[in-house]
């Protein structure tokens, strides 16, 4: 359903040009949970912003259901890493979730129902009238996920969404993503630098190289569903998959270009 062909992105021009994304080809199938993993500062966020229509790629194409993406498509929702900055601090959880629905052609009751359902799906019904900053980091990211769900996208893009929460919360949120994907039948493109997370969540892993990034390898993950934080991670297949991906990233022979340092700054 999502097709990325020969996508590249260069910031600036002339001597100061920084090539963040080299030449990326990948496809995401309907209902798939595809995890993109790569070394820190390899251009993952840039790639995701191009896919989400927030950045115009220097060359190449992003096609969603056969239609070329030229701006943020309606079937797509994005969850950013920095939950505290993507939520509006001046208004309640309810209004934050409601934000992307206000301009959609929906009846008032539909809107209310969507907000309530998606807040319930992330387990925050009790906190719907709180301000986001009254909640913990993990809960704030749940709000951001609820907002994305309320928008009813067919594909969800997640940019290192759990990079700034603690390990236990992270496990809970990973399970939330898996559950939500089954419940809502959403396709998910998940970007992370955490190898465990990539193996645990995915149907397929796309391993990227250093910037200017290209796809190094696509790894199929054959772990039984439903996944479980303890049982799945105990499996020897989990360990071997993890080791395999780790080696791919660690022994990345494409030398890190000095310009990656500049690119890393883009993630701040």
């Amino acid at each position: 359903m999502l097709e990325i062909t020969h996508l590249s992105k260069t910031y600036g021009s002339g001597d100061r040009a920084t090539r963040a994304v080299g030449d990326v080809n990948l496809t995401v199938g309907e209902g798939e949970l595809l995890v993109v993993v790569g070394p820190s500062g390899c251009g993952k966020t840039t790639l995701l912003k191009c896919i989400g229509g927030l950045l115009r790629p220097t060359s190449g194409d992003v096609k969603l259901n056969g239609k070329r993406v030229s701006g943020p498509p309606e079937e797509m929702a994005l969850v950013f890493q920095d939950y505290s900055r993507s939520l509006m601090p001046w208004t309640s959880v309810r209004n934050n979730v409601l934000l992307p629905l206000r301009h959609k052609k929906l009846s008032r009751t539909d809107r209310t129902r969507l907000v309530e359902d998606s807040v319930e799906a992330v387990g925050l019904t009790r906190f719907v009238d709180h301000y986001p900053w009254q909640l913990s980091g993990g809960m704030q990211q749940r709000v951001a996920i609820a907002r994305a769900l309320a928008y009813q996208p067919s594909i969800l893009l997640m940019d290192e969404p759990f990079a700034s929460v603690d390990a236990q919360t992270r496990g809970d949120l990973e399970d939330l993503v898996l559950r939500v994907r089954d419940e809502f039948g959403i396709t998910i493109l998940f970007v992370t630098h955490d190898i465990d997370e990539s193996v645990y969540l995915s149907d397929r892993i796309v391993v990227l190289t250093h910037a200017p990034t290209v796809v190094k390898e696509v790894v199929g993950v054959e772990l039984p569903s439903p996944r479980d934080q303890i049982a799945t991670k105990e499996l020897s297949e989990f360990a071997s998959q993890r080791a395999y991906v780790y080696r791919l990233i660690k022994h990345d022979t494409t030398a890190p270009d000095p310009s990656t340092l500049v690119d890393a700054g883009l993630h701040e």
């Binding site: 989400g52 229509g53 943020p72 309606e74 950013f80 505290s84 601090p89 934000l99 206000r102 009254q134």
Partner: protein
């Protein structure tokens, strides 16, 4: 000392220090017999007679109307201009020199032209004059507030395809609001100054006018009473503004307190 009693001491000091100063002034003026410095008690009696009863409607009300109308109009224009200038680098580049020029203009320099342009020394001229100078603090703070909006928030709004006018209403203005309030507060103080200035320059009523007339006729007690009143107006207006700000920016205090450093 416990937190509670420390609090009491602080509140006590807040009340007692001004009272002590006023008392000292009263004692000094009573003993010095200086006509230029009438007794505080004499000023206060005059104050009550002039402002609380006979001349309240004639002089105080017009001054207040001018302050508030000028402030309201100037602030609205400031925000309305600040939105496009905050959002567009190109527009900002074109407009900034003009803004800096007029902002640097000392207000009294524009008083004569203000009277000539308005063809009057009535309410209209005064409100226009006050409004003009109230624009700048609000305008500059609106621009700064909009420019400081977190790009993640803007990206979020864009990715959800939120139309431009909705983005301005739901994201841009609320996000810039704390800074806009800072501008409003400066403008409100300016409005009081401009009120006195325009009325002192040319007027037929108002507190500034009373100040001028009593000075010109060497009526020092009414003059002092006018000075006291102007101070009181400025103080009360700021006080009310802070009360409003506390309410509407309650989220901002909570949010900042919750930020990790």
């Amino acid at each position: 000392m416990s937190a509670r009693s420390w609090r009491l001491v602080k509140i006590g000091a807040e009340i007692l220090v001004p009272v002590a100063i006023l008392l000292a002034w009263q004692l000094w003026t009573a003993s010095a017999h200086q006509p230029r410095f009438p007794r505080l008690s004499t000023i206060l009696v005059q104050f009550r007679e002039m402002w609380l009863f006979s001349q309240f409607g004639e002089h105080v009300v017009p001054s207040l109307v001018r302050i508030l109308a000028g402030f309201a109009i100037g602030s609205l224009i400031g925000v309305a201009l600040g939105i496009p200038l905050g959002l567009s680098t190109r527009a900002r580049r074109a407009a900034m020199p003009h803004i800096e020029y007029w902002r640097a203009m000392p207000p009294p320099a524009l008083l004569p032209i203000s009277v000539i342009l308005a063809h009057s020394i009535g309410d209209r001229q005064k409100i226009e004059f006050i409004a003009f100078f109230c624009i700048f603090p609000v305008l500059l703070n609106t621009i700064a507030g909009i420019r400081a909006i977190d790009p993640t928030l803007v990206d979020t709004a864009r990715s959800y395809g939120i139309p431009r006018h909705e983005r301005v209403r739901r994201i841009v203005l609320p996000a810039a609001f704390p800074q806009i309030m800072a501008g409003l507060r400066v403008s409100l103080a300016l409005a009081v100054i401009m009120m006195v200035l325009t009325e002192y320059f040319s007027s037929t009523n108002g507190v500034g006018y009373v100040l001028l007339i009593s000075k010109n006729t060497f009526q020092l007690v009414p003059m002092w009473a006018a000075i006291v009143l102007i101070g009181v107006i400025g103080y009360l207006i700021n006080f009310v503004f802070l009360l409003v700000e506390r309410r509407v920016l309650a989220w901002h205090r909570g949010w900042r307190a919750a930020l990790p450093d």
